[in-house]
């Protein structure tokens, strides 16, 4: 989720928040998110930054009723551990599906949604959540 209410931080990180920019380690060939200058697995700095396709699967999920301030309207909130096509994992909110209809292994895609709305007059912060892939009818 990693969503702090700091306009400057969110603005600086908009590629990471909007577009799932991640790191790929050329040495150990692994990917991780959020991106860093050094590999979180082998410590190498032989890193390149890439953008995710946005497609992944749900590995684990939980339903949160005690939602934090700013997210109370979204209750109950489904938080999932998503494994992306590119191999990295992240925690994110899953939307547009009833908790009882989610299963581990369900295919999801990254979607841009409102994360936090700052009162009546402040900024609207956008970021990535996950929704079930739209299937052919």
């Amino acid at each position: 989720m990693m969503f702090e209410r700091s306009p400057a931080k969110i603005w600086r990180n908009r590629d990471v928040l909007y577009r799932l920019k991640y790191s790929y380690c050329r040495d150990c060939k692994r990917s991780f998110y959020p991106p860093r200058g050094r590999c979180i697995y082998c410590g190498s700095s032989n890193i390149e930054h890439r953008y995710s396709s946005g497609r992944g699967v749900v590995k684990e999920f939980t339903v949160v009723y005690q939602t934090p301030v700013g997210f109370t309207d979204m209750s109950p909130m489904v938080i999932g551990l998503i494994e992306m096509e590119e191999g990295f994992r992240l925690l994110a909110q899953i939307v547009d599906v009833k908790p009882e209809e989610i299963s581990n292994g369900m295919k999801v895609e990254a979607v841009l949604r409102r994360m936090i709305v700052d009162g009546e007059t402040g900024l609207i912060y956008y970021g990535i959540k996950f929704a079930p892939l739209i299937e052919k009818s």
Binding site: V111, R113, E135
Partner: protein, 352 residues
Amino acid sequence: MTKIKAGVTGWGSYIPPYRIKASDIASLWGFDPYTPKAIWIEEKAVAALDEDTITIGWRASKYALQRAGVKPEEIGAVFVGTESKPYSVKPSATVIADALGISPKKLASDLEFACRAASEAIRISISLVNTEMAKYTLVVGADTAQASPGDVLEFTASSGGVALVIGGLDNAAAVIEDSYTYVTDTPDFWRRSLAPYPEHGEAFTGEPAYFNHIINAVKGLFEEGGYKPNDFDYAVFHQPNGKFPLQVGAKLGFPKEKILPGLVTPYIGNTYNGSALMGFAKILEEAKPGSRILLAPFGSGAGSDAYAIVVTDHVLEKRDKAPKVVDMINRKIYIDYARYAKMREKILRYRR
């Protein structure tokens, strides 16, 4: 005939899965139960609490880029046609562009002309592409339409969006052959700044606005381009409800068989700037190459544009690269009026 050398390189649409039945709205407010049938609306799509014009426009745009096969860096302009901007001041187009990786070297703005702004963006795009000021442009028509609770507008005002990548003739899924525009000052529908819901001038909504402007735009296209109704395989009009498009089509000489394939409002409501374009997107997903489509968006205030658009062979390889309108029409999560009121923020309360 005008010398347009532009086409639709890619298209994408997005309809939220939430649906409220028109019969629920009728029963809550004590309408005659026949009312939804009289205007032909069955149910409408409702945006989730964390959705708005920007998020809907982004999703439609993502699918449009997938179908276009165009890199985000090649987009030279982003226009968002909407009458439900999340911010009164701060463009929606810049958020959508950055979130898609479109380069800073671009035009970006939001256009407002009720339901017709995205159509004006198509005409601006044609000139940008023809003058080579942009290789491709991204046109978004998206809305989370507002209606005062209990107003007859509430049956149809819905949420959804369509995005088109406009480019040259190479690789176009459909070629824009010709277009015509017809715009006047007509007070059929408006919303003052800071007013939460629109007003509509009953005497103006039908004949002087919708019918007069669409008919004049289409007749102008026919006269300048030398077309007649038989030259078109499909006709898509702005669709504020299910009935008006069939009526305006009949007046122009189109049988309902040519209109029904692009008529989506009865099932998802009027998505405003997405309205006619949603029908157009659906036809691109079904029509044979070589088919000619009449597209006539309309916006209150009032104006209409008419386009003659011919589907090419490229449409076939692009169709399956993103979800189709029909898939999204059929994907439904039903909600009752209480949940709809929460999702559209119609409940007075302290916000935490």
